[in-house]
Symmetry: C2
Subunit: 133 residues, 2 copies
Amino acid sequence: MAVKYSRQRQMIHNFLITRKDHPTADVVYKNIRQECPNISLGTVYRNLTLLADRGEIIKLQVGDGVDHFDADTSNHCHFVCSDCGAVTDMYFDCLEEMFAKAQQIFSGKINSQNTCFFGVCKECLDKSPENME
Amino acid sequence: MAVKYSRQRQMIHNFLITRKDHPTADVVYKNIRQECPNISLGTVYRNLTLLADRGEIIKLQVGDGVDHFDADTSNHCHFVCSDCGAVTDMYFDCLEEMFAKAQQIFSGKINSQNTCFFGVCKECLDKSPENME
DNA sequence: TCCTAAAATAGGAATCATTACTGTTTTGCA
DNA sequence: TGCAAAACAGTAATGATTCCTATTTTAGGA
């Protein structure tokens, strides 16, 4: 099925590009509704899935049971704070090597990769130093 | 709260140790029920979560919307076939370096890591070579 | 510019994995 | 053995996501 333009999809993609905090579908919905009050949640989900399927955004699961979305499709990792739940980007130069090595030792075909680090972010450490251990 | 022994939890952990395919809670439930017919699904979920919280097993999300569980707590990666959905283990020697490097460049505290590769497994490639591209 | 089929939408219902609740049973220590 | 804490079974509730349908929008051709 050919993909046709839709204002809603454009707004969703644009919004995601402005955000570096990997919002959930619901956060996208609530924000888009500010300027497009009768967009439906189903439309948000449908378009987020469509954009992810087309590789224009990334859908990521970080263990909190909710999908997060990221307009940055470059090869990078994520860090998830188990205290405040914040999801932040981490850039690595060794990801490519790792990817290549994985393809070497694996007999199937590898298309993509997703790496998540878990821990406590600096802000939460400063608030509760006992997390440092 | 102190953790007390429970036969159900023991069975769940034992079952998970015998499986290398990272079953979901529902698969665990259906299998345990073979020898413990009136175990409840809630008990399975509660114990899987408890075991994961205590670090005795790993809970992992691979993008299919369902949690998977792994009794192998060693530092390793996973591969997910987007065709058949199979989740398999991948062992890497560069994971430790990556972890160390991540801790160096990151100002917070990193506790754990989860890496997933996505693609098509050998079995599915053999069946449908067009996936090779 | 108008016409039309395909695609997309809004709104709401349905699904389904997971969690919460409650009365009963089990565990483990004294 | 007695008892309080923990765990259980069974079931209801939650909540993220998907599905459904009638209506609207898009885009290409006459």
